[in-house]
Each structure stands twice: as structure tokens, then as C-alpha cells.
């Protein structure tokens, strides 16, 4: 991505960039079966079809770091490394560039948890809150019993104690 800022990339370059991007977001949010079947970020349309300009804006700084600050071997094959190795590379970069990592992670979280597929995977309804709203059970106000038994705890206006 760093090399492509000043000219339109070829299709091959664009595919490589996209592959690198998807390997990055998969590293940030991989798939999991721990809390239901949660997809990896790289599986989502929100990332697979992110416009190039937006991708450069959001992920360009981190991808630049990966491409320029990591060993040659890792740089050439970042996308083909396993998740643990990719995560180790990013964490290594994060020590000196926490704001770059933080920015990319924040934007990934926003897009990921804004995705319909993820909302449904969490067991939530993928719909606007309005107009359907949500049901809340009626409260059993017997819980207030101990408080109702309290004496007043406020201080009256000085000079108006008798009025209270």
C-alpha cells in the first residue's frame, strides 16, 4: 500500500493489497467457536468489499509499518503466515506505534460489530431498535421495602423546618 499512494495500482497489485488487508483484519479478529460461531473479519463483506481509498485511509499506516519495519521474509509472506505469527508481528510493531495499532483495531471493531452477520451471530436481532423496541419485565417494587422504611434523609431549608 505504501508504494501505491501516487498511482493507480494494477489489478494484480490491487489483489495483493486486498489479500494483505484481509490477512490483517483476520489477524485482528479471527473466527471463533468459543461464543457461538463468530466469523473472522476477513469473511465479512464489510471488509472484502471495502473501497480501496477507505482501506488505505484506515489501514494504510499499519500496512506501511508491516511492509517497512518487519523482516524481509515476513514482509514478503505476511499473508501466508499463520495467525499466531502474524499477531506476533503486529504486537511487535505496537510497542513503538500504539496509536497506529489502536486506530486500525478501533476501525475494525466498528465495522465488525456493525455487520449484520456478526450481530446475528451474537444472538441479537439485526434490526433498528425503532419501531419494534424491546420488552422489559415489570419490576417487583417489593424490593423497595427497606428503603420505604427509612426516615427522611434530606435536610430541610433552614428556617422552614416546620413547613416540611
Amino acid at each position: 500500500m505504501a508504494k501505491g499512494h501516487d498511482k493507480r495500482p494494477s489489478k494484480r497489485e490491487a489483489d495483493t493489497e486486498r489479500g494483505l488487508l484481509l490477512s490483517l483484519v483476520e489477524t485482528l479478529i479471527p473466527s471463533s467457536n468459543a461464543n457461538g460461531a463468530m466469523p473472522a473479519a476477513s469473511q465479512l463483506t464489510e471488509f472484502r468489499e471495502i473501497p480501496s481509498e477507505e482501506a488505505r485511509l484506515v489501514y494504510g499506516p499499519l500496512l506501511d509499518l508491516i511492509l517497512t519495519r518487519t523482516p524481509q521474509e515476513a514482509r514478503q509472506s505476511f499473508a501466508s503466515l499463520d495467525l499466531d505469527a502474524r499477531e506476533e508481528i503486529i504486537r511487535g510493531l505496537g510497542a513503538d506505534h500504539p496509536e497506529v495499532i489502536g486506530g486500525a483495531v478501533s476501525q475494525t471493531l466498528i465495522r465488525y460489530y456493525g455487520a449484520e452477520a456478526v450481530v446475528e451471530a451474537l444472538g441479537l436481532e439485526a434490526r433498528p431498535a425503532h419501531p419494534g423496541g424491546y420488552a422489559l419485565a415489570e419490576t417487583n417494587w417489593a424490593m423497595l421495602g427497606p428503603v420505604k422504611a427509612m426516615e427522611p434523609i434530606y435536610k430541610p431549608t433552614p428556617g422552614r423546618e416546620e413547613e416540611g
Binding site: I29, P30, S32, N35, Y113, G133, L144, P152, Y154, G164
Partner: protein, 535 residues
């Protein structure tokens, strides 16, 4: 273009107080015009009508005007303040984005000097304001429960907002400790009320209520005021107030929607622009008679800015709480620590307010910020342990008036009409710091007692400058206050201020009911004194 309207009363600002005083004065038959820099809000465009509501709240529907950056939003320089400002510029003002928490002040709040030796006594008391609190409650429709031992007797109009699992957890914690708690007084229609539909627990009240159940003044006072003949001009931003050689306000200069400069003349000018907008306008209204800003012979315009510093404490529980369902800020409160107890190491006190949780996007971002949610291989485990498992308490602390906390004019920053914008200089006082610490500890006690396995404290909450108070304080002494005991400027006898800037002290509760009760009280004073109003 100059307009020569024969206006009797010109109100600047259509928020909480501007709406209330417009409605109350309408019965006089006077020609009343309100100028509002923003537009009517459109509830069908509020984020909760969109599936991406959480994302919208991060940008165009943020409660931070510096993030929102709409045409009608004036920028605010907060580089010298740990607390940034939250507001809404449009019909309804801050009530469009408030949580709907609707507590009155306590009697002691009007007598802090007498009772505790701090702040100053107000030139009126709870008993004088009580009929106007009650009138405002009826207009708003307050949900709650009568009998709270933390208050003198008062009525509510509607049943309380359900506690939900979050509120029940917290209530159990308070009961275990033997501490006071009570269902919040809420400006939320829990049943149909005066043409408004009832709450359906959408959740994000603080980005506008699409249901129309939350009592913002675009839905409560304004329809009634307009029916009574008040004219509301939107997208009309006032640049300055004009005065004559006799120190009488003659009207204002404002910009309309097209950016044209207009002049509106009036017999009475009323400012209802909040604790930042009002001093900004007064300081922008310099003249030969008022070289330091209009109505500022005391030198106190823009001084004594008070917020409510918040300590926000989350408890993370093992079981799911459905915490994203229901009004986010309204379930219960505790005023166990409201009145002064010198053994605590600070004066005055605070309210503990419950807060429900957030949707997945906000939860993930908050978790990233506080270290509870990670990325990489551990992401899903950490997110799963946090999302939908949070109940929170906020300590809303009484800030004391301090001269060095100010609103001034920024030397460079301007709004979209080129009008100088405000700058905030604010530091937390030692009393507020101690109170925040105490509040965070007591909130943690409740959450632990309720079964929380993890406690997360954020204090002071940085994006919590919802309440801007004290910058044109009221009082009987012109040397020590900007307006008198019924809201009229000491220096300009046909100029009134009715918003939160006239507060003498801040109390430890949300200010909107008191702002509106004061506006109704001042309206009553104007109506009573019409024959000699300017004497």
C-alpha cells in the same frame, strides 16, 4: 436586510428554558418571537431508526458538537479542560440528547453557604420554586414513584421506568448495604401522555428518542407555545445584543438560514442559550457602555463555570443482563451520600445513578479503551466476557463555583457565520476530586455487593460536560451577580437570563428540572411585574 418586527419579547434559544418561558409568557398576549440557531429535529432520522445506530452516534449524531460539526454547531475550544462539552443546537436543545434523568434540587442545595460554608446561598429557596417544579413536571410528564425519603413530598405523573436486570442487580446491592435507592424520576412517558406514545425501551435515549416518549421540549412545550401564538424562527443565529444609551436592550443582530444579516427589535430580550452560549453572546455584545461585554459590570459573565464531574464505574457480571435494552440512564438512583458529612473529607455530595450497558460496537470500543477487550486470538473470549454483562453506576458530583473556571471568547475560533466561539478553562477543584474518589469507591462497593466480578473506574468521565452552569449567576448584589433574584440583568433592565448560567451552585443532580422551574418562575415574575418591570 433589516426587519422591523414589533416584537414584545425576544427569546434567544429554543431549548429547555427558552421553550418553558415562551409557553408561560404566551398567555399574556404579547408578541413573542424565539430565535433558534438550529433546526427542528426530525425523530425519523434519529440513529435508533437505523440498524447502524451505534456507528451514527460516533459521528453525525454525537452529543459532542466538536465531533458532530453541523452548520448550526459552534466549535468550543476545550483544550484547557479535562471535560469536553455535550450539547445539541436545535429546537429542544439539550433535551433532545439528554438521558431524561429528571431529579429536582434538594432544599439544602439552595443554602450551601448557610449549611456547609461553601458556595453561596441562592436568592430563592426550594419552597419558592416548588410550585414551578410541579407545573413543569405536569408539562413534561415525570415517570417515577412518590414517597422517596430523599425528597420532600412530591407527585409524579407516570409509573416508573422498569428496572430491568441491570436495575435489579443494583437494587440488590444497595439493599445488601442498607443504603438508600429509589426509581429515578424520568422525563420519559412510560404510558401515553399528552399525545406522546409510551417508551418501548429503544435504549439510546442520548441520540434522540424516535418513539417520542422522551420529553424533549420540541415535543412538550413548543407545540403548546406555538398554538398559543409564539413565533419560532429556526436557523437564526444571534450575533450580538444591541443596547441604547440608556442601557436598555433594543434587540439583536442575527443571521438567517441564508447567512443574511438581520436586525430584530424588541422590548424585552431573554437569553436561553445555556451556560456557554449565554456568556458567549454577552461577551460578543461589547459596546461603549459595556466594554467588557453586555451586563458584565460585575465582571462575572463567564466566570464560575460549573459542570457535574462524573465518576463512571462499571461492574462486570457473570450472567447476561440484557443491558442494552431500556433507557440507558434511567432506572434508579441513590442519594445515600447527597448531604454533607464532614467525616468524608469533602463538602456537599453526589447522586449515584444507574446506567445500563451498550450495544456491541460501543462495548467493543469501550473495552478496547479500558483493556477489557483485546484483539487477536483472545478477542472473542474477552468480548464475550464483557458484552451484555455490564451494570454501571455514575457518581454525579456537585461542583463548587470557582472564579478561575471560565467561558471566554477564543481569539481565533469562529462558527460558520464568523462569530467568535467560546473557550473553556476548567480545572477540577480539590473538593470535586475528593468527592469523585468517594463516589467511585461507594459505587464499587455496591457493584461488588451485587455480584460483580470485575470493576472498572473512569473518573472524571472526559466526555461528560452535559451540564454547563453558573456563568451569569443570580443574586441580590450587583457586585456579586449578573442577574437579580428573578433573572433580570442588574445592568440592563429589560434583559433576562433563564438558562443554567444563572445557577448559584450546581447541586449533585441533573439540572434540567431546575432550569425549567426557574424559567417558569421568572416568567411568573415578569407577568406579575409587567406594570413596573423595568424599574
Amino acid at each position: 436586510m433589516t426587519r422591523a418586527d414589533p416584537i414584545d419579547v425576544l427569546i434567544v434559544g429554543a431549548g429547555a428554558s427558552g421553550a418553558a418561558i415562551a409557553w408561560s409568557l404566551a398567555e399574556t398576549g404579547m408578541r413573542i418571537v424565539c430565535l433558534e440557531q438550529g433546526d427542528w429535529p426530525n425523530p425519523s432520522e434519529y440513529p435508533s431508526t437505523q440498524r447502524e445506530s451505534e456507528i451514527l452516534q460516533l459521528g453525525p449524531h454525537s452529543y459532542n458538537p466538536n465531533t458532530r460539526r453541523r452548520r448550526e454547531d459552534y466549535p468550543i475550544n476545550v483544550s484547557d479542560s479535562p471535560i469536553s462539552i455535550a450539547n445539541y443546537n436545535g429546537v429542544g436543545g439539550g433535551t433532545v440528547l439528554y438521558a431524561g434523568h429528571f431529579p429536582r434540587f434538594h432544599p439544602s442545595d439552595f443554602r450551601t453557604k448557610t449549611l456547609d460554608g461553601v458556595g453561596d446561598d441562592w436568592p430563592l429557596d426550594y419552597e419558592k420554586l416548588e410550585p414551578f417544579y410541579a407545573e413543569n413536571d405536569r408539562m413534561v410528564g415525570v415517570a417515577g414513584l412518590a414517597g422517596d425519603p430523599a425528597y420532600p413530598p412530591k407527585e409524579v405523573q407516570l409509573p416508573p421506568v422498569p428496572l430491568g436486570r441491570v436495575g435489579e442487580k443494583l437494587a440488590n446491592g444497595f439493599n445488601q448495604l442498607g443504603w438508600h435507592w429509589w426509581p429515578s424520576d424520568s422525563a420519559i412517558a412510560t404510558r401515553p401522555y399528552q399525545g406522546r406514545d409510551q417508551c418501548v425501551n429503544l435504549g439510546p435515549c442520548m441520540s434522540g428518542c424516535s418513539q417520542g416518549a422522551k420529553s424533549s421540549t420540541d415535543l412538550t412545550y413548543w407545540p403548546a407555545a406555538e398554538r398559543a401564538g409564539v413565533e419560532l424562527r429556526t436557523r437564526s443565529r444571534v450575533r450580538e445584543i444591541l443596547v441604547d444609551d440608556q442601557d436598555r436592550a433594543t434587540g439583536v443582530i442575527y443571521y438567517d438560514a441564508e447567512g443574511n444579516e438581520n436586525r430584530a427589535s424588541a422590548e424585552i430580550v431573554i437569553l436561553a442559550c445555556n451556560g456557554i452560549g449565554t456568556p458567549r453572546l454577552l461577551l460578543n455584545s461589547k459596546s461603549a457602555h459595556f466594554p467588557s461585554g453586555l451586563a458584565n459590570r460585575s465582571g462575572l459573565v463567564g466566570k464560575n463555570l460549573m459542570h457535574h464531574p462524573y465518576a463512571y464505574v462499571q461492574g462486570v457480571f457473570d450472567d447476561p443482563l440484557d443491558s442494552y435494552k431500556g433507557p440507558i440512564g434511567c432506572a434508579l438512583w441513590s442519594q445515600e451520600f447527597y448531604e454533607t458529612d464532614s467525616s468524608r473529607g469533602f463538602h456537599r455530595g453526589y447522586t449515584l445513578q444507574s446506567s445500563r450497558g451498550f450495544g456491541p460496537v460501543t462495548t467493543a470500543l469501550m473495552g478496547l479503551g479500558n483493556g477489557r477487550v483485546g484483539w487477536g486470538a483472545k478477542h472473542h473470549d474477552t468480548f464475550g466476557a464483557y458484552f451484555n454483562r455490564v451494570a454501571a453506576l455514575s457518581a454525579i458530583c456537585e461542583d463548587l463555583p470557582e472564579l478561575h473556571n471560565t467561558v471566554t471568547l477564543d481569539p481565533e475560533l469562529v462558527d460558520s457565520d464568523g462569530i467568535p466561539a467560546p473557550k473553556i478553562n476548567y480545572t477540577l477543584g480539590e473538593n470535586s476530586r475528593r468527592m469523585l474518589g468517594h463516589g467511585a469507591e461507594r459505587a464499587s462497593d455496591v457493584l461488588r455487593e451485587a455480584g460483580a466480578r470485575d470493576i472498572i473506574v473512569q473518573s472524571p468521565l472526559p466526555n461528560a460536560g452535559w451540564h454547563q452552569l453558573g456563568t451569569a449567576r443570580m443574586g441580590v448584589d450587583p457586585e456579586d451577580s449578573v442577574v437579580n433574584e428573578w433573572g433580570r440583568s442588574h445592568d440592563v433592565k429589560n434583559l433576562f437570563v433563564v438558562d443554567g448560567s444563572i445557577f448559584v451552585t450546581a447541586a449533585g443532580v441533573n439540572p434540567t428540572p431546575t432550569i425549567q422551574a426557574l424559567a417558569l418562575y421568572i416568567a411568573d415574575q415578569i407577568k406579575t411585574r409587567l406594570a413596573n418591570l423595568f424599574d
